[in-house]
C-alpha cells in the first residue's frame, strides 16, 4: 500500500475494542472523491439541460437558475474545479512515480493498472453470477473499480479537452482542422452522456446499492471499513497483508458517529441528485 504507508493519521486501537477498522482511503483520496462527485453532479446538472435543450424540464431548470448564462457559468466553474483536482491528482501520481519511484503505481497488487488477474476475475465473477463457479477473491482494487477509475480518467481527458476546445474555439482552431470543431461537441456530449449514465446507474449500484454494500458504501467518506467487510470484499488483500505482517499498520479509528451521519447526508444527497438526473436523462432520451 504505498500511498497508505505515508499516512500520518493516528492509528489508535483501543484495547478490548470489539471490531477493528482498517484504512482504505487516505484523507486526500476522500477529498478528491468529494471534489469529483460534487463537480460531477454540478457538471451533469448544468450539462444535461444543454444536451436536451428541447425538453421542458431543461428549459424550466434554465429559467429557474437564471437562464443559460447562469447554466454555462456553473458548468465552467465546475469544470475548472474538476480540472484543478485532476491536475493535482496527475501531479501526485507523477511525483510518486518519478520522484519517489513507487513501482507499485504501475504494476502489482495495489496498482490501478489492469492485469491478467483482472481478466480472470471478470470471467470468474460472471461465472459466479450464473452459479457456475466460486466467487473470485479480490485484491485491493477489483476489476470494476479499476474500470471506474479509468473510465473517469479517460472521460476527464476527453470531455475536458473537447470542452476547452469549445470554450476557446478560435484558439484551438489554430491547430485543429475545421471538422474537429464540429466533432468536439459530438464527443463532449456523447462522452458526457456515457459518464452520466454510467456513474448514476452502474457505479451507484456496483459500489453503493448492491446488497453487499446497501444502502451505501461508507468507506469513501470515512476512509475506513470494518475488518469483516475488509475480509469479505477483498480477501486477497487481507490475507496478503496478514502474511506480510502489515495488517496492524492499516488499522485505523472507528468512524465517529457524526462522520457517519454527515457521510450519509452527503452521500444520499449525491445519489438522489444523480438518480433524479438519470431519470430526466432517460425521459429526455426516450421522448
Amino acid at each position: 500500500m504505498p500511498e497508505l504507508e505515508r499516512i500520518e493519521e493516528p492509528r489508535v486501537t483501543e484495547p478490548g475494542e470489539k471490531e477493528r477498522y482498517f484504512i482504505r482511503f487516505t484523507l486526500a483520496q476522500r477529498y478528491l472523491h468529494a471534489v469529483l462527485f460534487t463537480t460531477f453532479l454540478g457538471l451533469a446538472a448544468t450539462g444535461l439541460p444543454l444536451r436536451f435543450s428541447e425538453s421542458v424540464w431543461a428549459r424550466e431548470l434554465a429559467r429557474v437558475v437564471g437562464g443559460f448564462g447562469a447554466i454555462l457559468f456553473f458548468h465552467k466553474f465546475c469544470a475548472l474545479a474538476l480540472t484543478l483536482a485532476f491536475l493535482i491528482h496527475v501531479k501526485d501520481l507523477a511525483t510518486r512515480a518519478f520522484v519517489h519511484h513507487e513501482k507499485g503505481i504501475f504494476w502489482g497488487n495495489t496498482s490501478m493498472v489492469a492485469n491478467w488477474k483482472d481478466v480472470k476475475d471478470l470471467f470468474g465473477h460472471l461465472r459466479w453470477f450464473i452459479g457456475m463457479g466460486p466467487r473470485p477473491t479480490f485484491e485491493r482494487y477489483a476489476y470494476w473499480e479499476k474500470f471506474d477509475y479509468w473510465a473517469v480518467f479517460w472521460g476527464m481527458v476527453v470531455i475536458g479537452f473537447s470542452g476547452y476546445a469549445m470554450w476557446f474555439a478560435p484558439f484551438f482552431a489554430r491547430f485543429l482542422p475545421g471538422w474537429a470543431l464540429n466533432a468536439v461537441l459530438v464527443v463532449h456530449s456523447e462522452e458526457g452522456l456515457l459518464a452520466i449514465l454510467f456513474i448514476f446507474s452502474i457505479h451507484f449500484v456496483n459500489t453503493h446499492l448492491r446488497p453487499d454494500s446497501f444502502p451505501m458504501d461508507m468507506v469513501i467518506f470515512t476512509g475506513v471499513e470494518s475488518e469483516e467487510e475488509f475480509k469479505t470484499k477483498r480477501p486477497q488483500e487481507y490475507q496478503r497483508l496478514a502474511r506480510q505482517g502489515k495488517l496492524n499498520a492499516r488499522v485505523g479509528q472507528a468512524p465517529a458517529s457524526w462522520q457517519i451521519h454527515f457521510a450519509r447526508v452527503v452521500g444520499f444527497t449525491a445519489i438522489l441528485i444523480g438518480l433524479t438526473l438519470l431519470v430526466l436523462t432517460l425521459s429526455a432520451y426516450f421522448t
Binding site: G69, G131, P211
Partner: protein, 453 residues
C-alpha cells in the same frame, strides 16, 4: 326643427350667417316663410306700396286690410319659425329620449365644433321638413355626400350596413371630427381602440372566424409606439388594412394579400422592402412562389416584436425552421441551438445572424454574409479571433450523413458504439450481480446489509 344646430354662443357670434342659412327652409302652412331680416326689409317696401296707391280710398282700405292681415300673418309666422328652426330647443335637453328609451339629445356645443358643425340639421335629416315632425324619422344617409367612402365600404368586409353603420367607426354622428383632430375616433392614436371595440372582443372574433388581434397588436412594437410614445406615424390598423375598402387577406386586391404585404409594409419600411426584394425570399415571391415568406410570415401580422428583443430572437428560429426543416434539424445539433433554446441566453447565432434577415442571399453570391470570403467577418461578429481555420466549422453539419461529413460521422459512430457497448455490458453485469448477491445474502440469512452502513 329646420334651423341649425348651432349653440347659443355661436348663435350670437354668427347670427347673420345663421339667419341667411335658415332663410330658405321652413314652411308655415303652405307659404314660404322668410327670415327676420328680409321680413324687415319687406315691411319697409310695403310702406312704399301703401304710399304709391294712397290715392284710391277703396284700394287704400283693401290695401291696408290686405297688408295688415298679411303683416299679422307674417309676424305670427316669424314667431313660429323661430321655434321650429332651433331643433335644440327640444333636442338640446340632455335627458330627451325617444319612445324606445334611446337618447335623442344633441350636444349643440360639440356639434357646432364638429366637422359637420356648419350644416343644418335637415341637411342630413332630410326627411324632416316641419315641426312637429313624425316620431319615426328616416336613417341619415351619409353616402349622399360621402359617395366614394360608401362605395368603398360596399365592396369591403364591412359591407353590411346594418352591422357596420358609419357611426360604428366614426362614433357619435353629432360629434364627428376630422381624422387629424385628436377628438376623432379615427385619429391615428384612437384607431386601434375604435377597431378594437369589435376586434378586441373574443366572442365577435369567434363568430366571424377571426383571431382576437387587438391585444396582440397593442403589445406589438407598433402598438407600443402608438400607445406609449404617441407616434402618429406608427402603423395602426388602417395603415395596413385601409379604412373603408377593407378586404379579406384572401382577396388579391387587399393590401394584406400575401404578395401585396411587402409593398404594404414597405410604405413605411422602404429600405427593408428593397432589401427583401433583392433577397431569395423576395425573388421567390415575385416569381409566384407563395410558400416563400413575406414580412408577416416571420414577424407575424399583429404581434410584431422588436427583432432585437429576446422574445423575438427565441421565436424566430422555429419560424425559419418551419420551412427549412433539414437546416433546422442540423442546427439543433449544434451548440448555437442548444444554448439558444435555453431561456435567458439570446446571444447565440440565430438563422438571420449569419444569413441576414431581409436580403438573404445564397452562399454562392459574393455579397452574401455566408459567402466563403465573408465568413471570417460574419463569424467574427460574435467570435473574436475567428480565423480561416475557425470558419471551417460547419454550423449545419450532419453527423448522421457519412457522405457529407465523413469525419464527424465516424466520430459519432465510435462514441455511440462505445456508449452502447459499455452500458450494455455493465447493465447485464450489474443485474446479474444484484440477483446473485441478494441470493447469497438470503442463503446466508443476513439480508439487511446493516453492518456496512
Amino acid at each position: 326643427m329646420h334651423g341649425y344646430f348651432g349653440s347659443e354662443d355661436s348663435g350670437k357670434v354668427d347670427s347673420t350667417d345663421r339667419r341667411q342659412r335658415s332663410s330658405l327652409q321652413v314652411c308655415d302652412g303652405e307659404k314660404p316663410v322668410h327670415r327676420n331680416d328680409r321680413e324687415t326689409a319687406e315691411s319697409s317696401s310695403m310702406s312704399g306700396f301703401q304710399d304709391r296707391f294712397f290715392g284710391t280710398a277703396k284700394s287704400l282700405v283693401r290695401s291696408v286690410m290686405f297688408f295688415a292681415v298679411g303683416g299679422v300673418l307674417l309676424a305670427m309666422a316669424a314667431v313660429s319659425l323661430r321655434g321650429q328652426t332651433d331643433c335644440l330647443a327640444c333636442h338640446g335637453d340632455k335627458t330627451m329620449q325617444d319612445s324606445a328609451g334611446h337618447s335623442i339629445s344633441v350636444d349643440g356645443k360639440t356639434f357646432s365644433a364638429s366637422v359637420h358643425g356648419s350644416f343644418k340639421c335637415n341637411d342630413c335629416h332630410a326627411d324632416i321638413k316641419e315641426y312637429p315632425h313624425p316620431d319615426k324619422v328616416a336613417k341619415v344617409d351619409c353616402k349622399k355626400c360621402h359617395a366614394d367612402e360608401a362605395s368603398g365600404l360596399a365592396g369591403s368586409v364591412h359591407s353590411s350596413s346594418a352591422e357596420h353603420p358609419c357611426t360604428s367607426c366614426h362614433g357619435d354622428a353629432h360629434a364627428i371630427f376630422p381624422k387629424a383632430d385628436a377628438r376623432s375616433s379615427v385619429y391615428p392614436l384612437n384607431v386601434p381602440g375604435t377597431c378594437g371595440k369589435c376586434h378586441g372582443d373574443g366572442a365577435m372574433a369567434n363568430k366571424h372566424g377571426l383571431r382576437n388581434v387587438y391585444p396582440a397588436y397593442m403589445d406589438s412594437i407598433h402598438g407600443f409606439a402608438l400607445s406609449k410614445e404617441g407616434l402618429l406615424v406608427a402603423a395602426n390598423c388602417q395603415s395596413c388594412h385601409g379604412s373603408h375598402h377593407i378586404l379579406s387577406r384572401k382577396d388579391p386586391q387587399s393590401p394584406t394579400y400575401k404578395t401585396n404585404i411587402p409593398k404594404t409594409c414597405g410604405s413605411c419600411h422602404a429600405k427593408i422592402e428593397l432589401d427583401y426584394e433583392n433577397g431569395a425570399h423576395g425573388h421567390a415571391v415575385a416569381a409566384g412562389d407563395l410558400k416563400a415568406p413575406v414580412c408577416t410570415d416571420c414577424h407575424t401580422a399583429h404581434a410584431i416584436l422588436q427583432p432585437t428583443e429576446a422574445a423575438f430572437r427565441t421565436q424566430s428560429t422555429p419560424i425559419c425552421g418551419s420551412c427549412h426543416t433539414d437546416k433546422m434539424s442540423t442546427y439543433r445539433d449544434t451548440f448555437h441551438s442548444q444554448l439558444g433554446s435555453l431561456g435567458g441566453y439570446v446571444e447565440t447565432a440565430r438563422c438571420w445572424d449569419c444569413h441576414g434577415a431581409h436580403e438573404i442571399l445564397p452562399a454562392s453570391d459574393p455579397r452574401s454574409p455566408i459567402a466563403a470570403a465573408n465568413l471570417v467577418k460574419t463569424c467574427g461578429r460574435c467570435h473574436a479571433g475567428a480565423n480561416l481555420s475557425f470558419v471551417q466549422y460547419q454550423p449545419h453539419a450532419n453527423a448522421r450523413d457519412r457522405k457529407l461529413n465523413p469525419a464527424l460521422y465516424y466520430v459519432r459512430l465510435f462514441m455511440n458504439v462505445l456508449l452502447i457497448s459499455v452500458l450494455t455490458f455493465f447493465l447485464i453485469h450489474t443485474i446479474l450481480w444484484l440477483f446473485r448477491a441478494r441470493f447469497e445474502q438470503i442463503r446466508k440469512g443476513s439480508g439487511d446489509g446493516e453492518k456496512n452502513a
